[in-house]
């Protein structure tokens, strides 16, 4: 296998520079606001040689998140991402390095003295170095023999290892969700690195027996980590992390609900940003602060019956927001007054963790893991999607539904008739777009924009 001999982290370093800037400016939210306002027109239309390195970062926050509180929140979240990247590229550290799959919530890891790397996060990190960077990494994995139809996040994880953008792991932890692609890629990552790996077996159903099985798996995971890291789990630290998670989830769950108001005082953008942040450090004080700030900003707007954008005209419900198309948000907001009021990626629907004992923490962590985005939908029967989807349609006053299906998500595509039927019964116009969440080769930004524009016009929405 053609793994380079020396680590270089060139792409991670570029992303670190962007995060550091965000973090620095967070101390001066007004200044960051001006920077964002000045940069936005340069970034909005398309990627160029000039804006390649800051476009994704600027546009990921959207057009909407522009008041002082929101900008402060962005900066706070950047600090977690900055810490995460610094840890990833720190080759001098003597702390064990643990690779943790992106859908495997990482609270337990935070109660060990370790560094953490989320292999799929690299697909986002690479976007910060321009959309070509992710494609180069994906192609590297394909050249080595990864199946082209594999999820691009999984291919990026393998490509990053081949490109020496990944730190050397001491331990790998993974799960049997969210899809065949990801679980399959972890067998490849384990094979390539030879690090000991533990896989949490994810249940299919949502009954007590299933939750208990996952809980038993978490106890096995703790034992595996204690043995392989030669450390004991710090239960006090875990309690602190869980308490932070509870507060964070409380804010974000309320934020998810606030979008029901017309006009919507928020959108899915802060929720998606938090989804990225939680991979770096779930239950961190910064993540909690971010949630509080975006929640408070939205609550203020809710009281004043203000929209998050200047004039709300179209309320969109999305299936799977493709992160590589994050630049779509500001375009949709500016050109059509369109706000994404709900989706399956950012939306928080979970339970609090009882921190009174070790047993209750592990029991409830099992539940919160299984209620995480993607995990709660993908692992089980169609009802896990459809019941929530029907609820969203009933409660969020959406004008349309966008199924921007990821080409790696075979399980999701196999449900397209069921989604279509729900939309038909609810008389909700729907657009089905084939895309890829990280790989722009599948469909271009221009093509997606053209499809959106045609869809809005043909349905009388614009």
């Amino acid at each position: 296998m053609n793994i380079h001999s020396s680590e270089n982290f060139s792409i991670s370093r570029a992303a670190l520079r962007a995060s550091s800037m965000g973090s620095l400016f967070s101390r001066y939210p007004r200044a960051l606001g001006w920077v964002k306002r000045l940069m936005l027109p340069l970034a909005l239309e398309k990627e160029t040689a000039f804006n390649r390195h800051f476009r994704f970062f600027i546009l990921m926050a959207g057009y909407a998140m522009s008041n002082t509180e929101d900008i402060r929140a962005l900066g706070v979240l950047s600090r977690d991402f900055q810490d995460y990247l610094e840890n990833v590229i720190d080759e001098t550290s003597d702390k064990p390095m643990v690779w943790s799959e992106w859908n495997l919530s990482n609270e337990i890891l935070r109660a060990f003295d370790v560094r953490q790397y989320v292999p799929e996060t690299f697909a986002v990190v690479a976007q910060m170095a321009g959309s070509d960077a992710a494609v180069d990494i994906i192609e590297l994995a394909e050249e080595e023999g990864m199946a082209p139809e594999h999820c691009s996040a999984a291919k990026t994880a393998v490509g990053a290892l081949l490109a020496n953008e990944a730190p050397k792991p001491d331990v790998i932890i993974s799960s049997s969700h969210p899809c065949d692609s990801v679980t399959s890629s972890y067998q490849a990552l384990q094979y390539m690195t030879k690090a000991p790996m533990f896989v949490v077996d994810t249940p299919y159903w949502d009954d007590d027996q299933s939750f208990k099985h996952y809980e038993n798996n978490l106890w096995d995971l703790v034992a595996f980590l204690e043995t392989n890291l030669n450390q004991k789990l710090d239960w006090d630290k875990l309690r602190e992390v869980c308490e932070n998670v509870n507060i964070t989830n409380h804010y974000l769950q309320e934020l998810s609900e606030m979008s029901r108001a017309v006009p919507s005082p928020t959108s899915v953008e802060p929720l998606l940003l938090h989804w990225l942040g939680r991979m770096a450090a779930f239950g961190s004080p910064n993540g909690m602060k971010f949630a509080e700030l975006v929640h408070n900003g939205a609550k203020e707007r809710l009281k004043k019956k203000q929209s998050i954008i200047s004039e709300e005209k179209i309320r969109m419900i999305w299936y799977d927001v493709p992160l590589v198309f994050a630049p779509l948000f500001p375009w949709l907001e500016k050109k059509f007054g369109a706000v994404v009021v709900s989706d399956f990626m950012g939306r928080i629907q979970t339970v609090p963790i009882d921190t009174s004992s070790k047993e209750t923490m592990i029991r409830d962590l099992a539940r919160t893991h299984l209620y995480c985005t993607m995990v709660r939908h993908t692992r089980g029967p169609a009802e896990f999607y459809m019941e929530e989807f029907q609820k969203i349609i009933e409660e969020y006053s959406g004008d349309c539904f966008i199924f921007m299906g990821h080409q790696g998500c075979k399980g999701g595509w196999a449900l397209r008739k069921l989604f279509r039927d729900v939309c038909r019964d609810a008389r909700l116009p729907s657009l089905f777009v084939s895309s890829d969440i990280f790989d722009k080769r599948h469909v271009t930004e221009e093509e997606v924009k053209r499809q959106f524009e045609d869809f809005f016009r043909s349905n009388g929405l614009a």
Binding site: M1, E144, G145, M146, A147, E149, H150, C151, S174, S176, C179, D180, S181, T183, S184, S185, Y186, Q187, A188, Q190, Y191, M197, V199, D201, T202, P203, Y204, W205, Q209, H213, N216, N217, D220, P381, A382, G405, Q407, G408, K410, G411, W413, A414, L415, R416, K417, L418, D421
Partner: protein, 381 residues
Amino acid sequence: MSDILSTIQKLAEAQKNAYITKAADEGKRILGYMCSFVPEEIIHAACMVPFRMTAVGSTETRLGDTYYSAINCSLVRHIFDKALKNEFSFLDGIVFMNGCDHSRRMYDNWRDALKTQGLGPEFLYMFVAPHTTMETSLNRFIDELNGFSSALEKNFGVNITKNALKNSISIYNRRRKLFRELNEMRKQPEPPISGAEMLAVQLAMTSIPVENAVDLLEQLTEHVHDRKMDCKDKLRIVVTGGAMEEIDHVKMIEDSGAIVVAENLCTGGRHSDVSSDEDGDPVISIAERYLYKVSCPRMVDEFENRSSLLEKTLKEYSADALITEKLMFCDIWGGEVFLLKQEAKRMGFPLLSLEREIYGGGAGQMKTRVQAFFETVRNIQ
């Protein structure tokens, strides 16, 4: 072709056969399934006949595509297309499995079709197998097997006793032992049966009651005992991959100058000769067989074992080369093939990776690749 091989070939190529019709006429219920993790013994112990659903006879996916997309597995689309055309109307129930993202969604789509189009049968059951081999998973799997037994008992008014389970294990082990004997013979320099014939045998034996399968396999074993295939200048090939039911595809490989001496496929070779322990608690025996002895790439902590087993097979069957077979959009086998390529490099063993859509055509193109590969293998020998 002899009578027995001809009978078996016809069974493999038929959607429904006389054995199944007879069993149904005798009052036995027929239960369809698609994945080799579904425990046949439990279905048998409930006085039912497990029937492996295939795409045999399907020529299109027009109706299946109303549910599935173009990036879903062609096998699943074909099978569901047949279902929507009522070609599985003789089944009394279907047992789905969380084998892969494509096939497990058939549980959802079939239930929708039942609700909206009245597509039977009404007994649609999701059997859930763990993806790891830890003790926690074994315990969960034992619970799942007990839950499955209870569901059959409740829905069909049957009683699954320990004795019935032991008897079922015993008869399935007889079938498996006969497969082992056949496989042993394939290790000879001149095997008595071709790979294409063997695929037909494996397909046929999962589409008829096990008692009939034992009977036919006994006849076959006796018939081929002194038979020798012409192996002059032929390469010995092992085929590994997911589901395969296209006998012509294996024939094409063999007609290109080879004999397939062993296979590791969902539709047979991986599990057809693997027995359960006949001592002790039958449910635990079944659980241990399926979880520990039959590893497919959906099991995420078992690649090392699968690789060792494959290496052993290549040696024991004196194989010259390995062909991997993957259906398009199969992520599970996409990952496995990636790893097998690395292993082939490590072992310095020739490997050809083929990808196809089930009954998807392109035989000429495929044949050219196979011929070129065989030429390369001969050159390095």
